[in-house]
Structure formats: structure tokens, C-alpha cells
Amino acid sequence: MRTHITRRLLGALAVVSTLALTATACGSDASDGGGDSGPKDVAAALEKGGKVTVWAWEPTLKKVAEDFEKKYPKVDVELVNAGTGDKQYTALQNAMAAGSGAPDVAQVEYYALGQFTIGKSVEDLASYGAQKYGTTFTSGPWNAVTEDKAVYALPMDSGPMAFFYNKKVFDKHGIKVPTTWDEYVEAARALHKADPKIFITNDTGDAGATTSLIWQAGGRPYRTDGTDVTIDFGDEGTRKYTATWQKLLDEKLVAPISSWSDAWYKGLADGSLATLSIGAWMPANLTSGVASASGDWRVAPLPQWTKGDKTSAENGGSSLAVPKAAKNKELAYAFTEFATTGAGASARVTAGAFPATRADLESKAFLDTAFPYFGGQQANRIFAESARNVGEDWSYLPYQVYANSIFNDTVGKAYVSPTTLTDGLKQWQEAGVTYGNDQGFTVNK
């Protein structure tokens, strides 16, 4: 069902991109006449006022929307939660295909942005002067939203990975915090042996987590150059990941609990899930969702594939993009800029978001924040260090949303059957190649 819908939508995407091409043609005509002073148009639009519809699920945007309306009283920001993640992308594609009802600004996760840029269904913000923010954001998120000279979105937050562990459980069983993935496997064995109810972590097959760990291990399975795409899960980084993770699966050292389920929250609360290797946005979720475990958890740098390394990767994080179908693009850009840079970004960081802006990441107040949840630990220092050490040159597929949706049909087998991770990834690769070629990409040719 879901596959069919996605297929249908990608079909629709092709139509949309054709329309978008026509729109681009019109757009260039207009700019020939009106000059290239993008920022000025934005100022005029703010003066004139109007309504901006924003589709986003990020909770801290609410405050930003209020601040924006206060600063520009003529502008009315309508914040709509049109779904979370792929549900919202489906709605967005639907609205674009239907030709009406698309928002002026949309939250799009980094992994999903390619799906919208390849069809040119989001505005290139460089024409509004977004290029000047090249040094404002950290390199990982900035790379994720730019392509050559084009800026397809502005980074809203980021998720440099860190290692969250339940110190109470670790102390009780005398386990040392692992600094390498080999030590991690050892810790997993020791914990599970000490108490069979305890698992080092949960994993039932999560595309985001798997790709992030491959990223950290140095694997670069996806390469995209226009419509030429390469998928290769045979490189050394991927092999490092599968070798380690296969051990955990073979010895049944990871709990068969899906992330974000109620069982997951329960495991995090009662100590039966002892660690998480996840993005730096996790503290907000822990604080609100697992309040009873306050004081038990601590943060450490991610275990390394090679001892002494400091490499990290991004896990999650999203951007704000302006769809081509937006009604009021100047205002949309103004809001996007406000929410992602300067005071707006700082306000969101204060409210608990993890910044993608260098200034916020390096500010003393941010680094010195003591988290009562982590026993007063200054966890942001670890996150900021991780953000500086994110492995470079990672890219996702232009159809990563689809690819992730079939992750469990392929790699997922490794979690429930004798299929190995390597074979699962190979099947995932093959399915991705077939699908990409069907959609008009040139994959692995």
C-alpha cells in the first residue's frame, strides 16, 4: 500500500518537476525585468505584510512564529503540523501534485531534501541572498542543503551523534564506558550476562541509524551527481559496521524493540536499554519522555571504529525549505531566515533545539549549560565537539525517503532471519538501484 502510494507520488513528482521547469522559465523572465535585488523584495514584502503558512512539526518553532509576528506585525504566520517526517512529505507531494494547498515554508529533514531538490520543487534560496550564510552554519548541515551554488533550504537544527548511557546501570554492573565499538560489544556482552533483562541498546532495523553509523565508520555508499547515482554498500566503512553489528545480532545482544515505541520509552526509563547512539537532539526527548530516569543518564563521545579517533556523524536534523508552489515566497524566505539564523535560532536553542549555527554552538552560555537530567553534566561540550568532527562528503540518495521505506523489507531480514547484514544491505542496494533506474535516474551504470 505504502509502496504504491510512494510510487504514485513520485510519478506525480515528475509532473510537478515539469511544471516547476515552466515556472522557472517564467521566473527568470520576471527577474530580468525587476533586477536581482532579492533581499530588497523581502524587505518590501515584510512591509506589505501577508500570511505565511508553515508546515513543521518542530516544537520550538511556535515561539519563533510568535516572535516573528511581534517583529513584523503585518505578517501572520500560520504554523501547521501536517504530519511528522514521511507523512508530511507525502502530504507535501500531494499538495504539489494537486496544484493547491502547498505551504509557503516546509520542514524537510536533510535525508529527504534530495527528493525535493531533484525535481526542483523547492526554491533556490541563493536568489534571495542565502549564499551569505555559508559560514553561519556548521559544515555538515550546510553541505546537506546546498548543491554547487544553489541553496535549497536553510538548516534548522542538526544531530551530531553522541553516546548516551545509563550511568546507574553501568556503575551497578561495573562496566566501563566504551570508547571503541569493540569495547561496546564487550560492554554489551558483560551487561547482558550480568542481567539478561538488560540490553546495550535496541535495534530492529532503522535506516537512519544504520546509515549514520556507516557514515561514522567512513563508508560513503551514496554518490549523486545530477541524475547519476551510485549505490555501493561494499566499501570498507560499511564492512567495518557490518562486522561489528553482526556480532551484536548473532549473540542477540540488542533488544528487539523499535525506536520511538512506548516499549522503547519504557526501556529507557527502567534501565533495560542501557545506551543510545543517537543525535544531539535527544536530551529534549529524554527530559520530557523519560522524566523518571532523570539523573541516571550521562553523555559521552560516540565509540570509535579506530582507537584514538574522534570521527562522528549526523543523525537526523532538518531544514526549512520554500516550495516552488509557495504563494508568498519573499515572506516565506523572510520567515525561514528569521527562524534559522540570528535571534530566532538562538531562541530555539534556548527552548531545547540543537543548533546548526556556529555562533550558537560556540557560545559560552551554550557550552556551559549544565543539564540537571544528566546529573549536571555540561553535555553540550560533547555535542559541539561531535559537530566539529562529523565525517565529510556524505550524501543521501535523491530518493532516500523511498529507500528508507523499504529498509525493513531488505536489511530488516537480518534482524529476524539467518540473513546477514551484508546480504541485507546488498538486497537494499539492489532494490535501490532498480527503483532509481525505473524513476529515470542512472544508477550504478
Binding site: 518542530e58 516544537p59 511528522t84 517526517g85 494537486a98 537544527d157 526509563a269 519522555g289
Partner: protein, 335 residues
């Protein structure tokens, strides 16, 4: 489903037995009891005792056990819901699911559910009420009018209408949702309450039920007598037919109310603006909140919200069930 319901309604005088188990629980139990008694009483014992009538069935221990089991099975989720609505987020994660946590947060939970996110739950509740009153109410009115007309008037094309209605009953609403979305999108009606209300007005099943019910319960002689006495068609409908149709009307109203109250898929694709969400979508949006970076997990509010969501529909059932029963029994003493 319909057949058995109407045959049950038209009474035991009808020689044909229900082909499928009835939609109403009463009808089903009674049919089962009869069938069960029939197979087991084919022994010699049967002749020594006076036969058990359907109204005075033979007490059966296995049957009571099975019924009890089904009762527990049906009530267990409800019990879980009530129990867990008394827990806060920590209690939900720490305590055993089928028993109470140490301290009760029931009233606190209700208060927080109603006030969370500027009281958006109340807004969703009012939206749902609007959809139910306008959608299910409208659907019932249309079904009663249409069913009565089809049952009492003979006009060319009646058989064609019959075929279309039967065909429409067979098409699931889910299959029509996407075409409906594209149509409404072209008319610019998506993201408005109309997108939910208008499709809810169409209830082929309700129309069919009313049609059959009207054919059974409104005697042609009565209508002819009214006409001879000089009553106009409208007056005949409102003063004579409508009271006779009441039990059927309530049944259709109940069906469409439940369907509209629980409707999820149609609003899901039609409505993006949380201000127009019905409760089903709203609760799901809260649930999705726990699955996002930086989102707030509000499992306690979702559970309390779910409990609040089912209370009105349970109340409607309890209040209207006597009409429904009288509807089922209505035909049994006729002629």
C-alpha cells in the same frame, strides 16, 4: 447483515432463517442459542421435557462460559484504558499495565488533556461534534427520505437505483477516498470542514436499510387510507410514516454516528490544518509527537484523550439502545 437484521425486525413469522449472524448482539445470541439447542436436543431427552422457546432458552454452561470469555475479551481493552488514564507519564512507564499505579492522576490528566497546547483537544472535540451532527445527521435525513421514497413510490428507474445502491454498498469508502480527494482539491474544498461533511452525507448502506425497513414497516394500506382522507404526501410522511420509521431511523443514525465519529482516513487525506482535525487525527498527531526529535512524548494525554473520545459514543449507544431493541422487536407482533 442487513437481511438478518430486517428479518429479525419483521419477526419470527418470517419462514426464512437469517442467512448470516445478525448485526445486533441480541439477534446473534438468540440465533446461536437456537442453533445450539437444535443440534443438542435432537436426542430422546427432548421429548420428555417441554421445549424451550427462543424467549426462554435452555441454560447452557458452555455457552455461558463462551459468552463470559467474549465479554472479558471485549471489556479488557476498555479496562486497560480506564486504568491507564489514571497514570502520568512516569506511571505509564513504571507500573504494570493492567493495574493502577501508586498515585492517581485521573483528574489531573483530564485537566491537562483539555488544556494542553491551548486547549486544542476541546477544539477537536467540537470539530468531531460538528462532523457528526452535520455529516451523520444529514446522512440519516437523506437515507430516511430516500428509503421511504424508494419503498413507497413506484417510478421508472427504480430497479436501476436499486442496482446502483447495492453496488455502492459493495465499494469500501477507503477506495473512494483518493478520487474524492482529487475532486475536492479541484473544487478548492480540501482543508475545510466541507471536505469531511459532504462525503459523510452519502450512506448507501443507510439508504438500503431504510428502504427495506420502510417497505416492511409502512403498510401501503395505511398510506392509501391517509390519501383518501385527504392528507398530502408531505403530511403523510411526517405524521404517519416517520413515527413508524423511528426504530429504523435510530439504527441508521447510530451506524452513521459511529462511522463518522471514528472516521480517520477521510479526514486524514482531506485535512492538513490542525484547527479542523477531528479527535481521531488529533490523537494521532499527539502520538506522532513522541516519535520526533525534540518532540514531547505525551502518552498519558493520548490515553486520557482516547478515554474522553469514546465516552460520548458509549453514552449514545446506551441512550439509544432501547430504541434499537424496540426496532428489532417492532415487527414481531405484527399480523
Amino acid at each position: 447483515m442487513t437481511t438478518s437484521l430486517t428479518s429479525a425486525a419483521s419477526g419470527s413469522g418470517t419462514p426464512t432463517a437469517p442467512r448470516t449472524p445478525g448485526a445486533a448482539p441480541e439477534a446473534r445470541t438468540r440465533t446461536d442459542a437456537r442453533a445450539d439447542g437444535g443440534t443438542r436436543t435432537r436426542t430422546a431427552k427432548r421429548r420428555k421435557r417441554p421445549p424451550h422457546t427462543p424467549l426462554n432458552p435452555r441454560p447452557s454452561v458452555p455457552l455461558t462460559l463462551v459468552t463470559g470469555l467474549v465479554l472479558v475479551y471485549t471489556l479488557l481493552p476498555l479496562a486497560w484504558l480506564v486504568i491507564n488514564a489514571t497514570k502520568d507519564q512516569n506511571g505509564l512507564l513504571d507500573s504494570f499495565g493492567l493495574w493502577f499505579a501508586e498515585d492517581s492522576h485521573f483528574w489531573d490528566n483530564i485537566g491537562r488533556t483539555l488544556s494542553y497546547d491551548d486547549g486544542v483537544f476541546v477544539r477537536w472535540l467540537l470539530n468531531t461534534l460538528l462532523y457528526v451532527v452535520a455529516g451523520a445527521g444529514g446522512a440519516t435525513v437523506l437515507a430516511v427520505l430516500g428509503g421511504y421514497a424508494l419503498a413507497t413510490y413506484d417510478f421508472p428507474g427504480r430497479r436501476a437505483v436499486f442496482a446502483v445502491v447495492l453496488g455502492a454498498v459493495a465499494v469500501p469508502g477507503t477506495a473512494l477516498a483518493v478520487p474524492t480527494f482529487l475532486m475536492f482539491s479541484n473544487m478548492g474544498l480540501t482543508n475545510t470542514p466541507w471536505a469531511v461533511i459532504i462525503p459523510s452525507l452519502i450512506s448507501p448502506f443507510g439508504l438500503y436499510l431504510m428502504w427495506v425497513f420502510a417497505a416492511e414497516s409502512v403498510p401501503t394500506e395505511l398510506l392509501e387510507a391517509a390519501r383518501i382522507d385527504g392528507s398530502g404526501e408531505l403530511r403523510t410522511f411526517f405524521t404517519i410514516a416517520l413515527p413508524l420509521l423511528m426504530p429504523g431511523t435510530v439504527t441508521v443514525l447510530l451506524f452513521s454516528m459511529v462511522a463518522t465519529w471514528n472516521n480517520y482516513f477521510l479526514p486524514l487525506i482531506m485535512i492538513k490544518d490542525p484547527d479542523w482535525y477531528p479527535l481521531t487525527l488529533g490523537l494521532n498527531a499527539w502520538n506522532a509527537q513522541a516519535q520526533t526529535a525534540g518532540g514531547e512524548a505525551v502518552f498519558d494525554l493520548i490515553i486520557t484523550g482516547s478515554l474522553l473520545t469514546i465516552v460520548p459514543i458509549v453514552a449514545v449507544f446506551l441512550l439509544l439502545q432501547r430504541y434499537w431493541q424496540s426496532g428489532l422487536a417492532a415487527g414481531s407482533v405484527k399480523e
